[in-house]
């Protein structure tokens, strides 16, 4: 009888003990996905026709976002936040590469992609693949996207997380759409600091 009540207390004791396990690891506003077994790489095409992979951005912190240019709300908000974040980081902002992967290659032709990303910042890079490539990359990042008909047209549902790679090309953070530019800038500052030699 007594033993049973002790057992009942065990889960509570475990929960209480957990915070003690947390060593001085930095806490981010974003979801810390360091060590994730997905989102390891991508192989896509830039608007000039050049094939790009993650290795091309070694030494840069990469912010990767999946979206589409006909998106009225989430995509411009995420990219505008990226502009703000780079500004807040000052000189370190130059070490941040923003990559926009279209989930709507059917409508997002290279020209539209290029003009769209450049409207935010000339350094931002839009990438695309054919339907099959897009599917492969999205799956690698556990990104969901789906065409949804609306009247005579269609819109895209899609995962609205921004993925952050450190300068060694390791996937580190998943940034929620709701996070502010200030929070994201703080996260990137910490990431740059912790991953520099």
């Amino acid at each position: 009888m007594r033993r049973r009540s002790l057992l009942r207390l065990l889960p509570a004791a475990l929960v209480l003990a957990l915070p003690g396990c947390d060593r001085a690891a930095p806490t981010y506003f974003s979801i810390d996905i360091t060590g994730a077994d997905y989102g390891r790489d991508f192989r896509l095409t830039d608007p000039s026709g050049k094939e790009r992979t993650l290795a091309d951005f070694r030494g840069m912190v990469v912010m990767l976002f999946f979206g589409f240019t006909q998106c009225p709300d989430v995509c411009p908000t995420a990219l505008a936040r990226a502009v703000e974040v780079r500004n807040r980081l000052g000189a370190d902002g130059e070490r941040v590469q923003v990559v926009f992967v279209t989930v709507d290659p059917e409508r997002d032709t290279p020209i539209v992609l290029k003009e769209y990303t450049a409207a935010f910042d000339p350094s931002f890079l839009g990438l695309y693949g054919d339907a099959e490539h897009t599917k492969v990359v999205a799956r690698e990042f556990r990104v969901i996207y789906q065409k949804v008909p609306t009247g005579s047209s269609y819109t895209m549902d899609h995962t609205a997380l921004t993925f952050v790679f450190d300068s060694q090309g390791r996937l580190r953070l998943a940034v929620r759409h709701e996070q502010s530019a200030d929070q994201l800038a703080a996260d990137l500052r910490m990431l740059i600091k912790s991953s520099s030699p």
């Binding site: 709300d73 989430v74 505008a80 936040r81 003009e115 769209y116 409207a119 910042d121 609306t150 759409h177």
Partner: protein, 151 residues
């Protein structure tokens, strides 16, 4: 008697015209060439219970009312048949919520350009009122905060 009828008719017409719906701060995002869609944002207040049921604009071939929702970090956007306007309450169409979606734009919308939009509001008695507004284009990279600071 006939005259009285006419007067009352006139009153009905007048009250319909003055059913108070106010719209403030309408804006939309500028587009790049060949970008065929964009969203209009605004605040709308109706003095009495009503619904925003339709929007039109000469700038686009298709105009819809949309709702955006974030479900497990996935953005979902849907056309809605209408938006409730509870009496006296400010209803915001803003990034992260509702917007008027301009689809199949006839041409690029440049920063600063003014786009006319007609809103159709229906009251409880199914009486419809149209409100003409002019939405001004803000840069594609505008955020709600930087946008309003410009004014």
């Amino acid at each position: 008697m006939k005259r009285l009828f006419l007067v009352s008719l006139l009153c009905v017409a007048t009250s319909a015209t003055f059913a108070q719906v106010t719209v403030t701060d309408p804006w939309l995002r500028a587009t790049v060439p060949q970008q065929k869609a964009t969203g209009v944002f605004l605040q709308i207040t109706s003095a009495k219970d009503a619904r925003l049921v339709e929007a039109r604009s000469p700038a686009a071939n298709v105009v819809e009312l949309h709702e955006m929702a974030m479900v497990d970090n996935v953005m979902k956007m849907r056309a809605i048949s209408g938006l409730a306007l509870p009496a006296g309450r400010v209803v915001e169409l803003k990034p992260g919520g509702y917007h008027v979606m301009l689809i199949d734009l006839k041409q690029q919308i440049k920063d600063g350009e003014v786009v006319p939009v007609t809103l159709v509001v229906e009251d409880k008695d199914k009486k419809r009122e149209t409100i003409e507004i002019n939405a001004q284009a803000r840069p594609l990279a505008a955020t709600p905060s930087t946008g309003s600071m410009k004014h």
